[in-house]
Symmetry: C2
Subunit: 95 residues, 2 copies
């Protein structure tokens, strides 16, 4: 069982980054969900900042995006689901 | 040497996805740049669609985000640079 980090357009990227980095340290995998351009922007900023937080733990992450159809108050919405994985240390020096 | 796929808020995600999939097939690596929430949204949609295009080639991708500082007409702008890599086939079944 895992939690989904839900990001909105008003989320603070640094705070979301802290949450993402914490879950990555603990379990090596996190799921992030964002609906709409503003939320997706904040989510991607947060993931970029989380990479910086994880450097001190010798960890890095990569992101695999998926569409996800949700029912929100009876309305169908398409979310972007970002599955975040540990990035192999062997390619850490690549970028 | 490689090209950077520049995505704007008015880019068509399916067309960008086609370009990304083509470069991935050829070289296994592509760089994508987006500035601003609208452009980042289109870029992430394009990358999600590109994953679907690549399934038929037994390829998958993952995304490593970075901030990039650009000088655009003398003004400093922060872009999101997305480095896109082949995702190891060994974890293709994971998501």
């Amino acid at each position: 069982m895992y939690d989904i980090v839900k990001v909105s357009s008003t989320s603070h990227p640094a705070a979301v980054a802290g949450a993402i980095a914490g879950i990555m340290r603990e379990s090596g995998n996190v799921e992030v969900r964002a609906i709409g351009a503003g939320a997706i922007n904040q989510a991607m900023k947060a993931l970029t900042i989380a990479r910086k937080y994880l450097v001190q733990d010798d960890l890095d992450l990569s992101v695999v995006p998926n569409f996800e159809t949700l029912d929100i108050n009876g309305e169908e919405r398409t979310a972007l689901r970002l599955s975040v994985f540990k990035r192999p240390a062997s390619i850490l020096l690549g970028v």
